[in-house]
């Protein structure tokens, strides 16, 4: 475990915990953004430059704004004074149990003992060519889905005008 990895991992986990435990919704959202950035840092550590930077562009740049707007438009951000009624212990025990099961399964499986194959030199060009040849159908389906979602949003936003 190298020092940069430790810093990034600590930041990611710490901000994820903060995102769940803070009382103010906007603070939670901002912590979540820090988690996204930490994940991007992990990708960059693994030499996946393109994925890491896309993670920043999409999640830190766009998704975070979406979350923040959703919070601001739907509910009050003022934290309520009442204490949390749900005790965390059940959740924590379930989480620890799930994690232990997964960790034990992963450690027991032969995946961990395999020697890592030499990483192929994946350039952005290869990614693009793969997307445009082998994976063109999933790409087009995604595009269709996004277009449909966008049209739906436009229609919802337009309804106000019809009523006039």
């Amino acid at each position: 475990m190298t020092l940069p990895f430790a810093i990034i991992a600590g930041l990611t986990v710490g901000s994820a915990v903060a995102a769940m435990s803070l009382r103010n919704m906007v603070h939670c959202a901002l912590s979540l953004v820090l988690t996204f950035a930490g994940l991007a840092g992990l990708y960059l550590q693994l030499n996946a430059e393109f994925v890491g930077l896309t993670q920043i562009l999409v999640y830190v740049g766009a998704v975070s704004i979406l979350i923040v707007f959703a919070i601001l438009l739907t509910r009050s951000t003022e934290p309520k004074d009442e204490p949390s009624t749900v005790t965390p212990w059940v959740g924590i025990s379930v989480a620890v149990g799930a994690f232990l099961t997964m960790a034990l399964a992963v450690l027991a499986s032969p995946v961990g003992k395999r020697i890592a194959a030499p990483a192929p030199e994946v350039s952005v060009k290869t990614l693009g060519q793969k997307l445009m040849t082998d994976y063109v159908l999933p790409l087009e389906v995604m595009a269709l889905l996004l277009t449909a979602a966008m049209l739906g949003a436009v229609i919802i936003a337009m309804r106000e005008k019809e009523g006039k």
Partner: protein, 410 residues
């Protein structure tokens, strides 16, 4: 003679290697890397904030002249009679903002309010790390993802603006932040799409690689800047418009429209935090201009490969082009009125976005017809393919086919 100019061109690089050579031989490798990084960062931190300081004075003087005033012309060197045409003003401004009281509203969210200017300045400074300032002068060369890095880091400033506006607990701040986010999200799309044409033609995301792609010579002396192609010409102006909106410059300065919402998202900031917002905004503009220069204006290349032009060092060309663009933006600020919000959004989605998409198609056509159609026919053909949609979208379309609607005047 030519050697001397080449040496002058490489002076910053030579200086860096000289300073790195001064390290004792037993220095561990990580320390060398850190020192090398510091040596690359220091000039950026010295040159661009200084440029910002000078720009504030030039902007005030320029706007003053446009508005038939004189502008600042008093402050020179203290305790002497030397006035330097008022160019000492930025030092006085800097000292003032340093020693001013830092007022934080009682209802403000203290932590977020404190973090917002920092979270804004850091991404803006990070964008400078991939810009090629001169020949072999790029602080962080990312051959695979240079341009993506710029946009990814630049996109994270939106959240800082929201942090500033939300944490101030002020309706003007929140309104300004909302306006800023809506504007930045909308204009990011034409910005990236207009930059994408260059990536398509150059075939690389590396910014030094994009400059390299413009080094070919036309007619034996003219560098093939992307500006000299029809898609590049249109793309550059689309990029510049989107960049102005992204940097909140007039005519797109609605987020801080002082006649409507005081100062927008930084209404509740005073003293040095305000200065940081100011600095980050201008540095963001400079970075955008730097990217525009790299993509369309040949980066650090001179326009022609003829004797007096090639003598000037490459980093001087970059800084010279940057200064010219800054003056252009000051001029625009003195000339154009501010847009209305609905005009702003309509302009982004109904004009800029279709134009950038058409520009992508034209760039593809330009590239594919390189061998089949001679340049004399190709240039006007591609230009017409852009000029006609421009006319239809901008003038004819709405006026001819729909009745003009005065939304707020009726």
């Amino acid at each position: 003679m030519a050697e001397l100019f080449a040496k002058l061109d490489a002076l910053p690089v030579t200086l860096k290697h000289l300073l790195l050579g001064l390290l004792p031989g037993a220095t561990p490798e990580w320390l060398v890397a850190v020192v090398s990084a510091v040596l690359s960062i220091t000039p950026i931190l010295a040159v661009f904030p200084l440029m910002f300081a000078l720009t504030t004075v030039i902007e005030r003087k320029g706007l003053g002249r446009i508005q038939n005033r004189i502008g600042p012309n008093r402050v020179g060197i203290p305790l002497t009679d030397i006035r330097l045409f008022g160019f000492g003003q930025f030092i006085a401004d800097g000292i003032k903002s340093l020693i001013k009281e830092d007022v934080v509203p009682r209802a403000a969210d203290k932590v977020v309010h404190f973090l917002a200017p920092i979270a804004l300045l850091i991404p803006v400074l990070l964008t400078y790390s991939v810009l090629p300032f001169g020949k072999n002068m790029v602080p962080l060369d990312l051959p695979q993802t240079g341009l993506l890095f710029f946009f990814a880091v630049g996109a994270s400033t939106e959240l800082s603006v929201f942090m500033a506006g939300w944490s101030s607990r002020n309706k003007y701040s929140l309104l300004g932040a909302m306006r800023a986010i809506a504007q930045m999200v909308s204009y990011e799309i034409p910005l990236i799409l207009s930059a994408l044409t260059v990536v398509m033609i150059a075939g690389t995301l590396s910014l030094p690689g994009i400059v390299e792609s413009q080094t070919e010579l036309k007619f034996g002396f003219l560098y093939t800047w992307h500006l000299f192609t029809p898609w590049g010409l249109v793309g550059f102006f689309l990029f510049l418009t989107a960049a102005a909106a992204e940097a909140n410059r007039t005519p797109f300065d609605l987020p801080e429209a002082e006649s409507e919402i005081i100062a927008g998202y930084f209404t509740e900031y005073s003293g040095f935090k305000f200065a940081i917002f100011f600095l980050a905004e201008y540095l963001g503009l400079f970075a955008m201009c730097g990217l525009g220069i790299t993509l369309f204006l040949g980066g650090w290349l001179p326009p022609v490969k003829l004797a007096p032009f090639t003598w000037v060092p490459s980093w001087c060309w970059f800084l010279g082009k940057l200064s010219a663009l800054i003056v252009l933006f000051i001029w625009l600020r003195g000339t154009l009125p501010r847009l209305r919000t609905d005009q702003l959004m309509g302009f982004a989605w109904k004009f800029l976005l279709p134009m950038t998409l058409i520009n992508l198609v034209v760039a593809a056509l330009w590239h594919l017809s390189a061998n089949s159609i001679p340049l004399v026919a190709r240039w006007p053909l591609c230009f017409a393919m852009l000029a006609i949609p421009y006319w239809l979208l901008g003038r004819g379309f709405e006026a001819k086919f729909t009745k003009r609607e005065y939304r707020f005047a009726n």
